[in-house]
């Protein structure tokens, strides 16, 4: 039987040479007449092992990685399949502690299946959720999302079922499903990984949302920094359409739903839902005041569900396995699993899907194995550029919405960025303001001007110019940004800044070097 050799097609694997590895394997197959074929799977998110080549064995898939293109000839020496005894073998992939200790609901298929194969997708329960949804009344679907307790995974954590209810109840037509795939937070890549590894899940989730609220058109707003994701999603949408999973007659039900893919253009602010809608309408991505809520007056002024990729993906778990099943994971009002993304200076970076409630110590030390540099970890930024930098004293806080809010931090989209002891936290605080200044849409004054002033003031503090007075100004500025901004960009930029002031105050003072 023809054997499959899996070489990930994912961005990270690609950035480390996976395409060249795949070419080299294909050449080996041809050269030696091997009865094998290269399958470009997505990644499992074991990023320190990429490019991770996998082959099938009676016990499960055996992994080899990281594999450089020049190692392929040795790996398949003489045209033979390598065994677990090969020096580059990491053994059975699913037995790796990093993977085995996870609870993968949303990412169960990631890296396992060929993302372009609906057969693979269906073989692992893909499509069950949509079939179930087609047999339900819209209100039943919305009720399932409510009782599962799914909260928006984009960062704001708004209950998805309540948003869907608002759109379902809105009298105006047409209605739209907008998928926010403008994953701009540094340290986050779960949306990208899901779209590249299991694109049909997103398509299915959007179709379910359409059935729930009565929308027939969905739009994915994807960031232009993700060229490979664009290629994968484009192909997946065409395949889904050909298979009747999208189009005028969803799986023969007589219900219609289709999806368009639209590209962003390099503006972080367009991850904010109202800016995103402006951008889809062909305008500058400037924030709209709320109300009106996008659920009532969203795209083209019509009722619109705007959900993150992972929120829509979660709908497939809820509809396939039931709301009760989903709600058994997590704690308090943080239900289900969260795909945490380990990045920055970490030895074993990648995707860790676990129920809410895991701690940073577990993530960074048990899964991540500490810093990549081998130096002590000093700070962990959680939740993207608007999230807090946390010192060791907070690394046992459970990663859940409530517990993080209680320590002046947030989960955001689940990005966890590790910094070792060489990081200059004063520089990070200054960058937080600089990033806000660079990405501000300019609509509201606190964000547009406050961020620029913030950079100046922090710079003065760091260089020893009247630090006490400037610190007072900085506190005032943070308050103005937090209370006076239209959206979360200005409103949350104070979070990383204050976390540095609170936890790393020494580093806001000028260093010996800076004084000279």
């Amino acid at each position: 039987m023809t054997q499959s050799i899996f070489v990930p097609n994912d961005t990270t694997a690609w950035s480390l040479g996976a395409d060249e590895v795949a070419e080299a394997v294909t050449a080996m197959i041809a050269e030696h007449g091997m009865d094998a074929v290269v399958v470009r799977n997505g990644s499992r998110g074991l990023y320190w092992l990429e490019p991770l080549v996998e082959i099938e064995s009676p016990l499960g898939r055996i992994g080899f990685g990281p594999i450089a293109p020049h190692q392929v000839a040795d790996l398949f020496a003489g045209g033979a399949m390598p065994t677990a005894a090969h020096p580059l073998s990491i053994g059975l992939v699913e037995e790796l502690p990093f993977l085995k200790a996870q609870r993968r609901l949303t990412f169960a298929r990631a890296g396992v299946i060929n993302p372009m194969s609906l057969t693979d997708y269906r073989a692992m329960e893909g499509g069950v959720a949509l079939a179930n949804a087609l047999a339900m009344e819209p209100q039943q679907i919305v009720n399932a999302m409510k009782s599962a307790g799914v909260r928006g995974r984009g960062g704001a954590a708004f209950p998805a079922g309540i948003k869907w209810q608002t759109v379902l109840d809105a009298p105006a037509h047409p209605k739209y499903i907008v998928c926010n795939a403008d994953e701009g937070d540094s340290g986050t890549f779960a949306d990208r990984l899901l779209m590249e590894a299991d694109p049909f899940q997103l398509i299915e989730g959007m179709a379910i949302a359409g059935l729930a609220v009565g929308a027939e058109l969905g739009i994915i707003y994807l960031r232009s920094e993700y060229p490979r994701t664009e290629a994968v999603m484009t192909e997946a949408l065409a395949l889904a359409r050909n298979a009747g999973m999208l189009g005028p007659d969803l799986l023969g039900s007589g219900r219609a739903f289709d999806i368009a893919l639209r590209m962003g253009a390099g503006a972080y602010i367009c991850g904010e839902e109202t800016s995103l809608l402006e951008s889809l309408e062909g305008k500058r991505g400037q924030v709209r005041p709320k109300p009106p809520l996008p659920a009532l007056e969203g795209l083209f002024g019509k009722p619109t569900v705007v959900n993150n990729v992972l929120t829509l993906a979660a709908a497939t778990t809820v509809l396939a396995k039931g709301a009760e099943y989903y709600a058994t994971f997590g704690e308090e009002r943080s239900r289900g699993t969260m795909p945490f993304q380990l990045g920055g200076n970490v030895a074993q970076g990648g995707l860790v899907e676990l129920p809410f409630g895991v701690t940073l110590n577990q993530l960074v030390h048990d899964f991540g194995k500490g810093s990549r540099s081998g130096r002590p970890v000093k700070a962990i930024q959680v939740g993207g550029p608007l999230g807090a930098y946390l010192p060791a004293q907070h690394w046992d806080t459970p990663l859940a919405y409530e517990a993080f809010a209680a320590v002046g931090a947030m989960l955001g989209h689940g990005g966890v960025v590790v910094f070792d002891d060489t990081a200059d936290m004063g520089e990070q605080a200054e960058f937080a303001m600089a990033f806000c200044a660079h990405e501000s849409c300019g609509k509201c004054t606190p964000c547009r001007i406050g961020s620029v002033r913030g950079v100046e003031v922090i710079h003065r503090i760091r260089t020893g110019v009247d630090p006490e007075a400037n610190l007072a100004v900085l506190h005032d500025l943070c308050e103005a940004l937090e209370l006076g901004s239209l959206c979360a960009l200005g409103g949350l930029t104070p979070m990383p800044v204050r976390s540095v002031l609170n936890h790393f105050a020494d580093e806001m003072r000028p260093s010996e070097k800076g004084m000279s």
């Binding site: 950035s15 701009g184 590209m263 993304q341 990045g343 920055g344 990005g415 910094f419 990081a423």
Partner: protein, 170 residues
Amino acid sequence: MDDRSETQLQPDLEPNLVEAILREAGPSPTQDALLPILHAVQGQVGHISKETIRSIADAMNLSRAEVQGVVSFYDDFREAPSAKHVVQLCMAEACQAVGCRALAAHAKSQLGVDFGEATPDGAVEIKAVYCFGNCATGPTIRIGNRVHGRVSPERFDALVAPLRSGGRSA
């Protein structure tokens, strides 16, 4: 592979391309078609000139100010031609944690340019961007449409050297 960084055209080709893009958008495209049209022009022409802005505004029944406003808002759209190759360096936190600031300093001193500037031979321009979603294996750069991870200063030099000697970016 599509290489958006190498898109310098003969000037007389530009109006034809813009015309073709607008024709493809249909008889009277609505404003929501503006970003896709601008992406097409940026991708095929390499920049969006004043003349192009005028053509698009006319075709879409928008004011030139509206189109200009959109072009200037988004980082992807440029009003003047870039260097032959644009090298984007991620300068966001996850890459900062693994030395992107040092990599940027190296790139600037090696090429003798700052962000947003091209080398005097017009071969290479460097640009700061924020996040390719490659956060576990930074520092990350993008050359044309190709993303590269774990880029050390040595790897940067190896990737950029061929661009300066007239080769195509991979």
